[in-house]
C-alpha cells in the first residue's frame, strides 16, 4: 500500500513509476468507447488476448482497453505503441495478422491504416491522420495512451501535480482566483462562469458544502463526457478535489448513468486507488485537507440532469426540479450549498492550476476560453468526438473533422444542444464555436453536441421529435411545461400528418412564449428553444406543411402519400 503523504512522496512515486517503464515495450491499446464496442470491439479485445497467448507473447506485450479514441466512424480502432501505429475498422479476423506482422515482425498491415478519402494518401501513425493532427487534444489526448484503470499511469503523465500545487502552494482563495481569471465557463450547457459559481458556494453561510460532478449526459447526441470520464477518470477527480479545496467542501458526489458499465468499472477502480494513495479521504497528501466522494446513479430520466432535480435524486428522491430562484449553489443537496459542474468543466481545472490562467487564456476567443469537446452525429461522414479550441468555425468542424455530409447530399442545418438547444441553417456555418456567438444565433451550444441534418431531414418533423422526446421526460410538476408540451406536440403531430390548419404556427409561438416564461425549471423554460429557432430559420417549411400540405424534404409519410410521389 502506497500512501502519499507529501509532494516529495508524490514525486518519488512518479520517478519510481517512470524508471520502471520500458519505453520500447509494446502496448496494444484497444478503444473500448461506446461506438467501438457497438461496432464489435468487445470481440476484438478477447481475440487479442487469445492470440497473444497462442503466439507465446504473454508478459511481453501489454493489452489495454482504453476510453474513446474519438474517430468513432472508423472504429473499431486499435493503436500499437510505442510507434503509435493506428489501425482502423479492425475485425477479429485481422487480429492474428496484426500480432504476427506488427507485433512480432514490426511490419505495418497496410490495408488497416488510414487512407485519405480524396487523395488515397495513407497515414500510419495516429498523429499523422488529419483528424487527430488538427485537433487540440488537451483533455482527451491521453485517452488512447493510458490504461484508465491504472492510477500509476495517470501519475506518470504528471497527474495529481496540480492538486499538489493547489494544496501546498496555494490558498483556497488563490485557487478560486486562478479559476476566475482563467474565465472557465461551464461546459454543461449554460456557459456560466465556473469561478463565480464556486465563489457563491464558498461564501454561502452553511459550513457544510458539497461539490458535484454532473456526468448524467442525457442529451441525445452528446457523448463527449462519457468519452472523457471513461478514458481518464482521474483527470476529472483531480479537478473535483481541487474545486472542493477552493470551495471548502469535504464531501463530493458523482452523478452518472447506470447504463455505462465500463465507465462505472473504471470509476470504481479510480476511487478505490485514489483512497489507497491518500488522494481521497482524510488528510489528503498529508496536507490536512479531508475530502471524499460518493457515486450516485441516474436510472433513466432526462430531467435528472437538471441541477436541482439531480440533487433531489442524490437525496434518494424523485428528480423533481425546484424553482430557479432557489439557488442550488446556496441551497442544494439537503438545502446545503452545492456546487455542480459537468465532467468536462472539472477536467479543465487541473490544466488551469497546473499551467496557470494565463496559459489557459491564450486558447479560445475573447469570452470563451480553452478547448471544447464536440460530439458529431447524424448526417455526417464521421460521427466522432473532437476537441478543438473555442473559436474554431463550425465549417471547419463539420468538413475538416466531420468529413462533410455523406452520399453527396447537401448540409441543410445543424442542431446544437439536444432537445433544449437550437437549430441554425447551413448559411451560418462560418460562425465560430463560441458560447455567445451561438446564443445570439438562437442556438445555445449545449454540451457541445452537433447534429447534422441534410436536405432529406424535415425540420417540422425534427421539431415534433424533440417535443415528443420531452413529453416523456417532463416531470409533470408544473403546468406550463406539462400541458404546454402536450399541446405543442398535438399541433406539431397534426402538421406533420397534413392536418395543420391556419393559425397553428401562431399558436405554437404563443405556447412557446408562455412555456418559456412560466415553467419552473430550466428544462421547462427551454423546451420551446428548438422550435423557436426552427421557426426563425425555416418558417417556410412549416408554412408549406400547413398551407400546401407539402413536406419539402419529402420525409413526412402522410404528406408524401397525398403528393403521390
Amino acid at each position: 500500500m502506497t500512501r502519499i503523504n507529501s509532494v516529495a512522496e508524490l514525486e518519488e512515486l512518479r520517478t519510481g513509476i517512470l524508471s520502471k517503464k520500458d519505453p520500447n515495450r509494446i502496448r496494444i491499446s484497444i478503444c473500448a468507447g461506446l461506438s467501438c464496442l457497438g461496432l464489435g470491439n468487445g470481440l476484438i479485445i478477447g481475440t487479442f488476448e487469445e492470440e497473444i497467448k497462442k503466439q507465446s507473447l504473454e508478459g511481453k506485450v501489454d493489452v489495454i482497453t482504453t476510453g474513446c479514441h474519438g474517430f468513432c466512424e472508423q472504429g473499431p480502432i486499435v493503436v500499437i505503441y510505442p510507434e503509435e501505429i493506428c489501425y482502423l475498422k479492425v475485425t477479429p479476423e485481422d487480429v492474428p495478422e496484426i500480432v504476427s506482422q506488427t507485433i512480432v515482425e514490426k511490419k505495418v498491415v497496410d490495408r488497416l491504416v488510414y487512407a485519405d478519402p480524396n487523395t488515397g494518401e495513407k497515414a500510419v501513425h495516429m498523429m499523422e491522420i488529419p483528424f487527430y493532427k488538427n485537433q487540440m487534444r488537451n483533455l482527451i489526448g491521453n485517452s488512447p495512451k493510458i490504461n484508465p484503470k491504472s492510477i500509476d499511469e495517470y501519475i506518470a503523465m504528471g497527474g495529481y501535480s496540480a492538486l499538489a500545487k493547489a494544496l501546498y502552494e496555494m490558498t483556497p482563495e488563490q485557487v478560486l482566483g486562478e479559476v476566475k481569471t482563467a474565465n472557465l465557463r461551464g461546459r454543461g450547457g449554460g456557459g456560466f462562469p465556473a469561478g463565480s459559481k464556486w465563489e457563491t458556494t464558498r461564501n454561502a453561510p452553511n459550513p457544510k458544502k458539497y461539490v458535484i460532478v454532473n456526468a448524467h449526459e442525457g442529451e441525445p447526441g452528446a457523448f463527449m463526457d462519457r468519452a472523457l470520464f471513461q478514458g481518464n477518470p482521474h483527470s476529472v477527480l483531480e479537478g473535483l478535489i481541487i474545486g472542493a479545496y477552493a470551495i471548502g467542501a469535504h464531501t463530493g458526489f458523482i452523478y452518472t448513468r447506470h447504463d455505462t458499465h465500463r465507465l462505472r468499472e473504471n470509476l470504481d477502480i479510480a476511487l478505490e486507488k485514489a483512497r489507497e494513495y491518500g488522494l481521497l479521504g482524510e488528510n489528503i497528501m498529508g496536507s490536512g485537507f479531508d475530502f471524499d466522494v460518493e457515486v450516485h446513479f441516474d436510472v433513466g430520466i432526462f430531467v435528472s440532469g437538471e441541477s436541482s432535480a439531480l440533487m433531489r435524486s442524490i437525496e434518494g428522491n424523485a428528480p423533481e426540479p425546484r424553482p430557479k430562484y432557489i439557488r442550488t449553489s446556496v441551497n442544494g443537496i439537503w438545502d446545503r450549498p452545492s456546487n455542480l459542474n459537468n465532467v468536462e468543466t472539472w477536467a479543465n481545472v487541473p490544466h488551469i492550476i497546473g499551467n496557470g490562467s494565463e496559459w489557459y487564456n491564450n486558447i479560445g476567443t475573447e469570452k470563451s476560453k480553452g478547448t471544447k469537446l464536440v460530439s458529431l452525429s447524424g448526417k455526417v461522414v464521421n460521427s466522432a468526438v473532437v476537441e478543438v479550441p473555442m473559436g474554431t468555425t463550425l465549417r471547419e468542424i463539420i468538413y475538416e473533422f466531420g468529413g462533410g455530409i455523406p452520399n453527396g447530399k447537401k448540409l441543410k442545418a445543424i442542431h446544437f444542444g439536444g432537445p433544449m438547444g437550437g437549430t441554425i441553417p447551413e448559411s451560418l456555418i462560418d460562425n465560430p464555436l463560441d458560447f455567445d456567438a451561438l446564443s445570439k444565433l438562437g442556438a445555445s451550444m449545449g454540451a457541445g453536441d452537433m447534429l447534422m441534418m441534410d436536405e432529406d431531414t424535415c425540420i417540422v418533423d425534427m421539431a415534433r421529435f424533440f417535443i415528443d422526446f420531452l413529453s416523456g421526460e417532463s416531470c409533470g410538476k408544473c403546468t406550463p411545461c406539462r400541458e404546454g408540451i402536450r399541446q405543442m406536440l398535438n399541433i406539431l403531430t397534426n402538421i406533420t400528418q397534413g392536418k395543420g390548419k391556419e393559425g397553428d404556427i401562431e399558436l405554437l409561438e404563443e405556447l412557446s412564449e408562455v412555456t418559456g416564461e412560466a415553467a419552473l425549471c430550466s428544462l421547462g423554460r427551454s423546451v420551446q428553444k428548438p422550435l423557436v429557432s426552427m421557426l426563425r430559420y425555416f418558417r417556410d417549411e412549416f408554412e408549406a406543411h400547413v398551407n400546401e400540405k407539402r413536406c419539402p424534404a419529402h420525409s413526412c409519410k402522410e404528406l408524401i402519400a397525398s403528393e403521390g410521389v
Binding site: S35, G38, L39, G40, V299, G316, S375, G378, G418, L451
Partner: protein, 150 residues
C-alpha cells in the same frame, strides 16, 4: 439463487435510506424487475415508507414492475439514430413482434423498449439485444438479426 443475490444487496445497504435508488438499481440489474414483495422488503430494510419506494419505481424509467421477456430489445431513438431512420426500424420490429415499446410478447421472449441516445451515434440506427449490438441496421435486416435469439 436470485433471492440470495437480492438478500445480499439488501444486507449491504441495510438502514441506509439515502441509498434507496442504488439498492433498487442493483436489484433491477440482478432480477430484471421489481416484484411487489421485494419492494416491500426494500422498504423494511432501508426503513423508508413503501410509498416512496413505489414513487421511485414508477418515476424512473429503468425500473420495471412487471417481469421482462428473456431478451431485452432496446431500440435507440436518439437524435442521431432518428435522422438516420430509427423510426422505420422501430416500426418494422413492432410489426414483426406485434408489440409496442414497454410490452413483452406472448411467449415472453422479447421485451421491446425505446431508449434515449446510447452515445454510439456512429452505430445508428441500432438495436441492442441485452449486451449485443446490431449496428447500422436497416429495416430489411431486422428479421435476420432477430432470428438468432430463441
Amino acid at each position: 439463487m436470485e433471492n440470495d443475490a437480492i438478500e445480499r444487496i439488501l444486507n449491504k445497504y441495510e438502514g441506509q435510506d439515502r441509498q434507496l435508488i442504488r439498492v433498487m438499481m442493483e436489484i433491477q440489474e440482478e432480477n430484471r424487475w421489481l416484484p411487489r414483495d421485494v419492494m416491500k422488503k426494500i422498504s423494511e430494510k432501508l426503513d423508508v415508507p413503501f410509498s416512496r419506494v413505489l414513487r421511485i419505481a414508477t418515476f424512473y424509467k429503468t425500473f420495471s414492475m412487471t417481469p421482462k421477456g428473456r431478451y431485452e430489445l432496446n431500440i435507440c431513438t436518439g437524435t442521431g439514430c432518428h435522422v438516420r431512420g430509427a423510426q422505420q426500424v422501430l416500426e418494422t420490429v413492432q410489426d414483426m413482434l406485434g408489440i409496442k415499446p414497454g410490452e413483452t410478447d406472448a411467449d415472453q421472449k422479447f421485451t421491446l423498449e425505446v431508449v434515449n441516445c446510447q452515445g454510439c451515434c456512429t452505430c445508428g440506427p441500432m438495436i441492442k439485444v441485452d449486451d449485443s449490438t446490431h449496428s447500422r441496421i436497416s429495416p430489411a435486416e431486422v428479421a435476420d438479426a432477430l432470428k438468432k435469439y430463441d
